[in-house]
């Protein structure tokens, strides 16, 4: 690096804020500096994103002086640091007020019209944001305040238990502890750490055997067999390997992981520890979307108490297992939920997906074998070890095993997260949530979120299983079940979906970078009556190219919901 820094200094506030991440300022340049070079730079690069957060937490934005100081301390080329900061929606590089209100303008929150949010006050800015994961309380907003105190100022964030209408139902498995205090004592009183003790008893290979026997598949959307993934990581040649919990829950309409993180944080800590034991990892990363400020506080407290009680650290539960977890905050980028983009983000690079192969189980975080699972996937490991993998496999349909969390939102009487064994139909689930509000008729259901598909009222008998949805040409995705009634404007929903993908495309590949823009332009023309000859074919042509030729799942699925709406709901007729 021909590091050349602008002749700019951080403010005292910025310097102090950076100290919490980078330590006290030391002479970083000049003749007294002996160590350096690309190896040292690579070793500290993962501190870039936390350092950028520290600036924004304190002064609201990434100033030139602050960025320069980070670059000096971490040997990051300023152009790269700027490239990273501007990748994320929540790291502004221009001066902004200390308070930001993120007003959700996404599918569930805009059903009553595009939210305007509060009137802009002095010292406050209002940002219209993609889904902030509070769909059960639509319309929702999130207020973030920067200032001297870290992780301050969360507004309109509800307790998780308000989001689980089934709370207290003894049949609940994954949600059984929602409503109990998120403390270690309470966790231990409610069956906590039984699974880890069993894992330590039976050994890593047997843990993987149990997970394999359970036939658990990933809950993040791709439905990959979890046991196979764990076994693949465990079988890699010796050397460091990592665990990543994907808590970047950003699919519009999805909020189940938020409820788990806020309401049962130790479940994730325990299940990540089991995974680490099974695959031989010493370090885990919990990548949390930065909109989940309440969960951040809960998780930080949980990690601290787990560490002090010996559930994390160099000798977990007195065993030879050494494992700890670090929280990495996302910064407003849907793409970082992609399993390789998440690595780049944690490493301090732009959160762009990597080309696969190689797959994460071989070359993942920091170039090492890595197990990356969704939060819901991880916590399923607890019942698997408690009941045994075969018993777990007995729940559900045999193909889709265990229970599933569904996020009901939109035109439904009791929105929230529901846990049901696999096998029930869409109609049963809707009924469980109280059906539609009085006098409303179902127009469509969006399954799986913006990357999912619309189904029609005629399809409400569809069993919500992986096999049945696959056969119907739709996807369960992350468990979104968003209802639209007869008053909803589906054209508006389609425009929102196309705008969402245009906003969230990372920009790396042409089909997605330009395709999502052209899709948005065409959807806008087609749904607002400005259709030109050939527009619909053009939209299909773009969609097919995005699906076939994009690098990652974002581009590959960006046309799914729109296509299904055209083909099955006839929205363009």
């Amino acid at each position: 690096m021909d590091l050349r820094f602008p002749d700019l200094d951080p403010s005292p506030e910025e310097l102090e804020a950076l100290q919490s991440v980078l330590g006290p300022a030391t002479p970083t340049e000049g003749w007294t500096r002996e160590q350096g070079g690309p190896h040292r730079a690579a070793a500290v690069r993962h501190l870039l994103l936390p350092a950028l957060h520290a600036l924004v937490d304190r002064v609201g934005f990434v100033s030139e002086g602050g960025l320069t100081e980070i670059c000096r301390r971490l040997d990051v080329p300023p152009a790269e640091a700027y490239g990273v900061a501007t990748f994320y929606s929540m790291l502004p590089v221009d001066p902004v007020p200390l308070t930001t209100v993120y007003v959700c303008e996404d599918l569930a929150c805009r059903r009553g019209g595009v939210p305007t949010g509060p009137a802009a006050e002095p010292g406050t800015r209002v940002v219209h944001a993609p889904c902030i994961g509070l769909c059960e309380q639509a319309p929702a907003s999130l207020t973030v305040r920067s200032g001297p105190k870290p992780h301050h100022g969360i507004a309109s964030m509800p307790p998780a238990n308000g989001s689980v209408p089934q709370m207290g139902d003894p049949s609940l498995v994954l949600l059984r502890r929602i409503g109990t205090p998120p403390t270690l004592d309470s966790y231990l009183d409610n069956g906590g750490y039984v699974a880890l003790r069993r894992a330590l008893d039976i050994g890593p290979a047997a843990v993987i055997d149990e997970v394999t026997a359970s036939r658990l598949v990933g809950r993040g959307g791709a439905a990959f067999p979890t046991g196979r993934k764990w076994a693949a990581v465990a079988s890699q040649p010796a050397g460091p390997r990592f665990i990543v919990a994907n808590a970047d829950e950003s699919e519009p309409g999805t909020f189940k992981d938020r409820v788990l993180l806020e309401g049962d944080p130790f479940a994730l800590v325990e299940s990540m520890t089991i995974a680490a034991f099974a695959v031989g990892a010493e370090r885990g990363y919990l990548y949390l979307r930065d909109e989940y400020r309440s969960a951040l506080g809960t998780l930080e407290a949980a990690l601290a108490s787990a560490r002090s009680a010996g559930f994390l650290g160099t000798a977990v539960l007195g065993s030879p297992l050494a494992f700890d977890i670090e929280i990495v905050r996302g910064a407003g980028a849907y793409i970082c939920g992609e399993e390789t983009a998440i690595f780049n983000s944690i490493e301090g690079h732009r959160g762009e997906p990597r080309s696969k192969p190689p797959y994460p189980v071989e070359v993942g975080l920091f170039g090492r074998p890595t197990l990356v699972n969704n939060v819901e996937t991880f916590v399923n490991v607890l019942p698997i070890l408690e009941q045994g993998g075969n018993a777990f496999a007995g729940i559900g349909t045999g193909v889709s095993t265990g229970t599933k969390l569904f996020c009901l939102s939109g035109a439904v009487r009791n929105p929230g997260v529901y846990e049901v064994p696999f096998g029930g139909t869409l109609e049963e689930l809707i009924e469980r949530a109280g059906g539609l509000p009085d006098g409303r008729e179902l127009q469509a259901v969006l399954l799986g979120g913006a990357a999912g598909s619309f189904v029609t009222p005629a399809q409400v008998n569809l069993p919500l299983t992986f096999e049945a949805t696959r056969a119907a040409g739709v996807s369960l995705g992350s468990g979104v079940v968003m209802l639209f009634d007869d008053t909803d404007d589906l054209g508006d929903a389609l425009r929102r979906i196309s705008a969402f993908f245009r906003h969230e495309s990372c920009g790396q590949c042409v089909p997605c970078r330009v395709g999502t823009v052209r899709q948005d332009e065409l959807v806008t023309r087609l749904t607002l009556g400005r259709r030109r000859d050939g527009d619909e074919q053009l939209l299909r042509d773009v969609g097919q190219a995005m699906r076939d030729a994009s690098i990652c799942g974002l581009g590959q699925t960006a046309w799914n919901a729109i296509e299904s709406a055209i083909d099955h709901l006839g929205v363009l007729q």
């Binding site: 690096m1 021909d2 590091l3 050349r4 602008p6 690309p38 030139e64 960025l67 080329p77 300023p78 152009a79 790269e80 640091a81 700027y82 490239g83 501007t86 990748f87 994320y88 929606s89 590089v93 980028a333 732009r350 080309s355 192969p357 245009r502 906003h503 969230e504 495309s505 990372c506 920009g507 790396q508 590949c509 042409v510 089909p511 970078r513 330009v514 395709g515 999502t516 823009v517 052209r518 332009e521 065409l522 030109r532 050939g534 053009l538 042509d541 773009v542 097919q544 190219a545 699906r547 076939d548 030729a549 994009s550 690098i551 590959q556």
Partner: protein, 290 residues
């Protein structure tokens, strides 16, 4: 004697690569482990179009023009980066690949000025691409060229965001890291910190970004000015490869001469010393013989 040395004199570092048998467009062929589908196609004389692929750089995987079908894969596969596997069955020319290539060309052609991109016109014809289908009122990256130094011009209206300049400036060759991709999505762009001008950046004017730019978005000022004046005429140019006079490393220079004047300096991509790269003196220090 120390026992840490593991290799005897003459021991090569890498073991020989295994043979891989695969089928490309119905023809069984033998390649080496680590070869890409693209390299196999080229050795078979199959012309797979590429834009973001530079033969001196790691595949950027960005343009998606070189997509091929691989039996069993859910989506198309980038031939530039995908390595061959035993029994792989590759189809380079199918309705799906032609559609993807056509759309990539239409998407780029409707948003970027491709007027100085070699071969693109022929590909448009071959794949039936018509970028005007989207209409004239769509988003583009049109913008004025950045002329902020006397050595080269950055005309980002022609940028397809292939990442090659960033890779050449960064880890793969120059390690200056003066530029990066900033922003996201359609707003993604090549920039220095805070979108400053080049003279305020770490740029050392090696021009190795120019050498890898596939579209003419990056151009030496000599070429940019001559094109603007209408005097740039490749048909009147000769190319002569010689050795740089500025130090003892021995970089090969290819001098592009028009009317007995050096109008551009490049270095051969297949030259073992430079791999197409030069320093500021080699690329721009020719004016003393003008």
């Amino acid at each position: 004697m120390s026992d840490v040395r593991t290799s005897a004199p003459g021991t090569p570092v890498a073991p020989p690569r295994r043979k891989v048998t695969l089928t490309v467009d119905g023809t069984e062929t033998v390649a080496r482990e680590g070869d890409t589908i693209l390299s196999v196609c080229r050795s078979l004389g199959i012309d797979v179009p590429t834009l973001c692929y530079g033969d001196t750089l790691e595949p950027a995987n960005a343009c998606r023009l070189c997509m091929v079908e691989v039996e069993g894969a859910r989506v198309l596969v980038p031939s530039c980066s995908r390595e061959v596997e035993p029994d792989m069955n590759v189809t380079t020319d199918s309705a799906r690949t032609r559609h993807a290539r056509r759309m990539v060309l239409e998407l780029l052609g409707s948003s970027v000025d491709l007027s100085t991109t070699p071969r693109v016109e022929a590909w448009m014809a071959e794949f039936g691409a018509d970028p005007t289908r989207f209409g004239a009122d769509v988003a583009t990256v049109a913008q004025p060229a950045k002329v902020d130094n006397n050595l080269y011009v950055r005309d980002y209206a022609k940028c397809i965001l292939c990442y090659q300049c960033v890779d050449a400036c960064g880890e793969q060759f120059q390690n200056t890291f003066a530029i990066s991709v900033a922003g996201r999505g359609f707003d993604a762009r090549i920039a220095v910190e805070f979108d400053a001008a080049l003279p305020d950046s770490a740029c050392v004017y090696c021009g190795n970004c120019i050498a890898v730019c596939p579209t003419g978005a990056l151009m030496p000022s000599t070429e940019f000015d001559m094109r603007a004046d209408g005097t740039w005429d490749v048909s009147r140019q000769s190319e002569t490869t010689t050795v740089c006079p500025y130090c003892g490393v021995g970089c090969n220079l290819t001098l592009h001469v028009q009317d007995n004047r050096i109008v551009k300096v490049t270095s051969p991509n297949d030259h073992s010393i430079t791999s197409g790269n030069l320093c500021v003196k080699g690329r721009f220090g020719f004016t003393h013989v003008q």
